[in-house]
């Protein structure tokens, strides 16, 4: 019986909001209904966690069970992690049938061939998503269950959502294993990151509402449309101008709610151009970093012009985020932003 496993379970329980602990444990399905009934869920979380730990010890929980609980937790609260989107590519066109078991096997084999001390766990969900949890060790130490990487892979799509571990050195390994396991040839970061996994999915699967699309996942809400009072004593002088702004805004952002991103980052690199007589070193570019952050960046951008905080028709640099599917940009001379074709980091 490994006491670290129990402690790990206990700490995972501590992370769950108290009123949700029961539901998560039920989904976990490791403790019996009878055992669950012995736990008092109205005491302080600390005590609940000890109770759960004790029951797990009775059931001799192993690391696999603990990992599943962690996956459930992360699946339920995906916003606790930062997710990046990766795209995989094929050179040949051959379509193969997708086999989950093959993928699992290949993935495990690929990783284990390089690093022996890893914990790998899978869990499938109805939306054809496969959640992979990897805890990393080193050749000489056991896997660190507290610094895990997460991969969410949707079969039939080339997109992978990775929430990397703090142990960054393992990322290339992970990417390689993914490419091999899913029969692709290449993987690259899309420079799109957010805490909201669902929004990332919306962006890359293009399921969020945009004007040029017919598909709209959520009904268009009548929001901010008619706050104008009917009172005849208030007269809007710039009605036509306002309508123009509304139209422009709609063209850019569409009607529906925007996917949730927390930031957009622009790196500007420009060379210093000067009179050649002035002996100024111009080898090194000027670097400038602009970061926009907001709890809900795209909604904020969308409301800028209607709120009168910016001129209508925002810069395309800001509005291109959803359809370029990236929120990290590098702006170089001639404003050419070419997506890097290899994994950075």
């Amino acid at each position: 019986m490994d006491e670290t496993v129990v402690e790990y379970i206990r700490r995972t329980v501590l992370k769950i909001p108290r009123d949700k602990i029961k539901a998560v444990l039920q989904e976990w399905d490791f403790l019996s209904e009878k055992q669950l009934q012995t736990i008092k869920f109205n005491q302080i979380k600390d005590n609940i966690s000890y109770d759960v730990a004790q029951l797990c010890e009775e059931n001799s929980a192993d690391i696999k069970q603990a990992a599943i609980l962690d996956i459930i937790y992360n699946y339920t609260y995906p916003n606790k992690r930062l997710w990046s989107v990766y795209q995989m590519r094929k050179t040949g066109g051959g379509t193969e049938t997708f086999d989950l078991q093959v993928l699992k096997k290949k993935f495990k084999r690929q990783l284990r061939s390089v690093l022996k001390n890893v914990t790998i766990n899978f869990r499938e969900y109805e939306d054809s998503a496969i959640w992979i949890r990897i805890a990393w060790g080193t050749p000489y130490t056991k896997p660190n269950q507290y610094k895990t990487s997460y991969v969410v892979y949707h079969s039939q799509t080339p997109y992978v959502f990775i929430s990397p571990s703090v142990l960054k050195s393992n990322l290339p390994l992970l990417c390689q294993a993914l490419v091999v396991a899913s029969n692709y040839h290449d993987i690259c970061a899309m420079e799109l990151r957010s805490h909201s996994l669902n929004s990332l999915k919306d962006i890359v699967f293009k399921t969020y509402s945009q004007n040029f699309q017919t598909y709209c996942p959520k009904p268009i809400q009548e929001r901010n449309v008619a706050p104008e009072s009917e009172d005849l004593r208030i007269i809007q002088e710039n009605r036509s101008e306002k309508e123009r702004i509304k139209r422009l805004n709609r063209e850019v952002f569409g009607d529906g709610p925007q996917p949730q991103l927390e930031f957009a980052q622009y790196k500007l690199e420009t060379m210093f151009k000067s009179n050649p007589k002035m002996d100024v070193l111009d080898k090194e570019p000027f670097r400038c970093l602009v970061k926009f952050s907001s709890p809900h960046l795209l909604e904020s951008l969308k409301s800028l012009a209607p709120a009168g905080m910016a001129d209508a028709a925002l810069s395309p640099l800001l509005t291109c985020i959803p359809h370029k599917a990236r929120n990290y940009f590098k702006i170089k001379e001639k404003k050419a932003f070419s997506p890097e074709s290899f994994v950075t980091r």
């Binding site: 006491e3 129990v6 402690e7 005491q43 600390d46 005590n47 000890y50 109770d51 730990a53 004790q54 010890e57």
Partner: protein, 750 residues
């Protein structure tokens, strides 16, 4: 360092040792023993604490025995104990005996900095911090084994926790050591802050001043050096001869960052559990938010909150504690007799804000007249008030309520001390131009009444201009409140003047270098300002009686400044106030005006007499103009109330004088008699009642019946109705030759 060995052997043996001296014992216990822990949880009386105390003891004894270099990453036991210490410290603070051990580990320099900072950051006291532990850590600091960052963090910790240290005599003795740390450029700001807290008069030495000046020459004008120098200057003005800027916005960087939340949490918790009388907190609301530093700092630092600990402590150290030069802990000060008994050995808490809510300390502060105390209070208060626009924070409604409470407390303190705080004044000057006239309204206006006397140029642009803008655009009630608080302001100034006249012997609480003429000018400007805004306000508000009441109320103070407050200044109200009051439809205003004019007369007559008798060579004389103005007004009043000659005799440029031709055109038949105590619109109601009582059968309302003897009866009737102002005015200003209506205006000769 002579005391460095104490760190190795703490004076009081740890309780831990009694239970478990053997290392293996705790190791066994360290494993999760499910049965035991569950039992612990389920025991009903110990739900809250769980198995934590044991684990803390284990952790402490682990740290005590910790030898050299262990890696935080690798050593699981270390990791576990560190987490225990951290979580317990942040939840409810550490017991006194833990500090020596943990400080010893953190500052020895044997271990990695991550461990050291973790430990330092979790050093939150549950009750007190033993002085020994601090002394021994200073010895580690002198050895210089730990890294710069750890040193800095330790200093910040010491500053933040200063008030939690149980006694400070030995720490005071280390003054020189701390002073020597000033050389270090990084530590300098924090060392200055610490020295600022430690400095006593005997610490101020010429060589130290020289050192500080050298530093200042080297590093430029740094606010922390200035703070220390200004404190030195207060203690020994003869030694510090350089001039220092009077008002600095912030002296020290805030150093309580890492511990703030934890201290508040612990304080909150201890407050709930402790049996200490709530009296200590004196009704200030305890707040949860981390951001709001006001009210939380009003509480005397919490080493008092755990009474049991203190008492225990006292028993242990009773020999030391009752030494004569030992200071009496302020947090134990609860009754007035206690204050009297211990007044010679009181020391202010370094958190000066707590003084505000403690009347006993305020009494003490009032009687010791120590500049440095005021300076510290000033420093604290300006720091609290420095954030801009604290009165209104868009996304925090509660904030305003709390800020109101704080301002209220400040105001009450000002009333108690009968003195305005200059930090508060600065706050007002900074805020009024941006103020909306709504948030914290009554608090702002009340604080205005405690603005200290100043030269006018400052007052004008900082106070009068913004106030006038708000005044003109705001509601009637706002106008009245402004007038009310300006009246309070005037009274406070006048009282201040009177007190200083009486005690000319020269105690100077204020560094205010006002001469009498300066004072007279400032007061005159205030009165003129009120006259001006009142005139405009009457026009804007259509001469409302309500407003007029507040205006005349202000002038009730103005008219008595010479006799009442011994200030050689009398200013008549402007015509824009006088005439609306004289012609008011309301007897209250008229009565008030009569009383005011009577007081003006009394004052002017007294001034004249003084001038004539020349007993005293007067520095100031009232100008002819004042007398002239008074005379003009009195003529108008007598014409309006008595002789029915207001249209002929009122020679004031804005007066009521009209040509007969013009008056005839009005088609009023007896225009000549249309203004006197019978016909005046404010008094006609009385006349009607009088007629009804005197001639119950007559329904024609023949006002002309009131004459001769009846006129006198009518006067008596008016007096009986409570028009005392009218009474004193008529009795003083109207010379009634006989009972006939021949009378003469009793004007004062210029």
């Amino acid at each position: 360092m002579q005391r460095s060995q104490t760190s190795k052997t703490p004076k009081q043996p740890l309780q831990v040792h009694k239970h478990q001296t053997d290392l293996s014992a705790w190791q066994k216990g360290g494993r999760i023993d499910p049965e035991k822990s569950v039992q612990n949880h389920q025991s009903p009386n110990d739900q809250k604490n769980g198995s934590k105390p044991d684990s803390l003891e284990q952790a402490l004894s682990f740290f005590e025995k910790l030898q050299d270099s262990v890696s935080l990453k690798k050593d699981h036991a270390l990791q576990k104990h560190l987490t225990t210490v951290e979580s317990i410290a942040l939840q409810r603070g550490l017991p006194p005996e833990g500090f020596a051990i943990l400080l010893n580990v953190a500052l020895s320099g044997k271990f990695a900095d991550t461990l050291n900072t973790h430990l330092l950051k979790s050093l939150v006291p549950a009750s007190v911090i033993p002085e020994n532990s601090v002394v021994s850590s200073v010895s580690w600091l002198c050895v210089g084994k730990c890294s710069g960052n750890v040193q800095l963090l330790f200093l910040k910790w010491l500053i933040t926790m200063f008030d939690f240290i149980d006694h400070k005599e030995q720490i005071y003795a280390l003054y020189g050591f701390f002073f020597s740390f000033l050389q270090d450029e990084k530590m300098c700001p924090y060392v200055c802050h610490l020295l600022y807290l430690l400095t006593r008069k005997e610490n101020v030495k010429p060589f130290r001043i020289r050192r500080l000046l050298d530093l200042q020459a080297k590093m430029g004008m740094q606010s922390h050096l200035q703070a220390l120098l200004s404190l030195y200057k207060i203690f020994c003005p003869e030694l510090v001869t350089i001039t220092l800027p009077g008002k600095v916005k912030t002296y020290f960087k805030n150093s309580e960052g890492p511990w703030k939340a934890a201290i508040n949490a612990v304080r909150q918790r201890n407050k709930q559990n402790s049996p200490v009388p709530r009296l200590l907190f004196l009704g200030t609301v305890q707040l949860r938010s981390r951001k709001r530093k006001w009210n939380t700092q009003l509480i005397i630092p919490a080493n008092s909150t755990n009474k049991n600990d203190l008492e225990e402590d006292r028993e242990k150290n009773h020999v030391d504690l009752y030494r004569m030069n030992e200071s009496f802990p302020v947090e134990q000060l609860q009754t007035f007799p206690q204050l009297l008994q211990n007044i010679h050995r009181l020391e202010f808490p370094s958190q000066m804000g707590s003084v505000l809510t403690n009347p006993l300390l305020l009494h003490y502060m009032n009687c010791i007249k120590d500049e440095s105390v005021f300076l510290r209070l000033y420093y604290w208060m300006s720091q609290v008030l420095q954030e801009e626009c604290t009165w209104c924070v868009a996304d925090n409604y509660q904030h305003e309520e709390e800020f109101k409470d704080f301002l209220e407390t400040v105001y009450k303190t000002e009333c108690f001390l009968q003195e305005g705080f200059s930090s508060c004044e600065e706050f007002l000057y900074r805020s009024l131009p941006l103020w909306d006239g709504f948030s914290c309204r009554s608090q702002f206006l009340r604080l205005v009444s405690w603005i200290p006397l100043n030269s006018f140029s400052e007052m004008k642009s900082h106070l009068y201009d913004p106030l006038a803008q708000l005044f003109f655009t705001s509601s009637l009630y706002f106008k009245c409140s402004v007038l009310e608080s300006l009246k309070e302001l005037l009274c406070n100034w006048l009282n201040w003047h009177v007190i200083h006249l009486n005690s000319e012997s020269g105690f100077q609480v204020h560094s205010l270098n006002t001469t009498l003429s300066g004072l007279v000018n400032t007061v005159a400007e205030l009165v003129h300002f009120v006259g001006w805004i009142s005139t405009v306000a009457l026009r804007l508000e259509n001469n409302t009686t309500f407003l007029l009441y507040f205006i005349l109320d202000f002038y009730e103070t103005v008219c008595d400044m010479y006799l009442g407050y011994n200030l050689p200044l009398l200013i008549m109200p402007p015509a824009g106030i006088f005439y609306p009051a004289l012609l008011s439809m309301d007897s209250v205003s008229l009565n008030q005006l009569c009383y005011i004019m009577y007081r003006y007369r009394t004052n002017l007559v007294a001034a004249k007499e003084n001038e004539l008798s020349k007993q005293k060579i007067l520095q100031f004389k009232f100008s002819r103009q004042t007398y002239q103005e008074y005379n003009q007004y009195v003529i108008a009043m007598v014409g309006c109330l008595w002789t029915s000659s207001v249209f002929q005799k009122d020679v004031h440029p804005r007066g009521l004088r009209m040509d007969d031709e013009l008056l005839k055109k009005t088609a009023v038949q007896e225009f000549k008699t249309s203004f006197n105590i019978v016909y005046h619109p404010a008094l006609m109601g009385y006349a009607v009642h009088f007629l009804q009582q005197a001639w119950p059968d007559d329904t024609t309302f023949n006002f002309s019946l009131i004459k001769g003897k009846k006129w006198n009866w009518y006067l008596e009737y008016l007096y009986a109705q409570g028009l005392k102002g009218l009474k004193v005015f008529i009795e003083s200003s109207i010379n009634r030759v006989s009972q006939a209506s021949h009378s003469k205006a009793g004007s004062v000769k210029a």
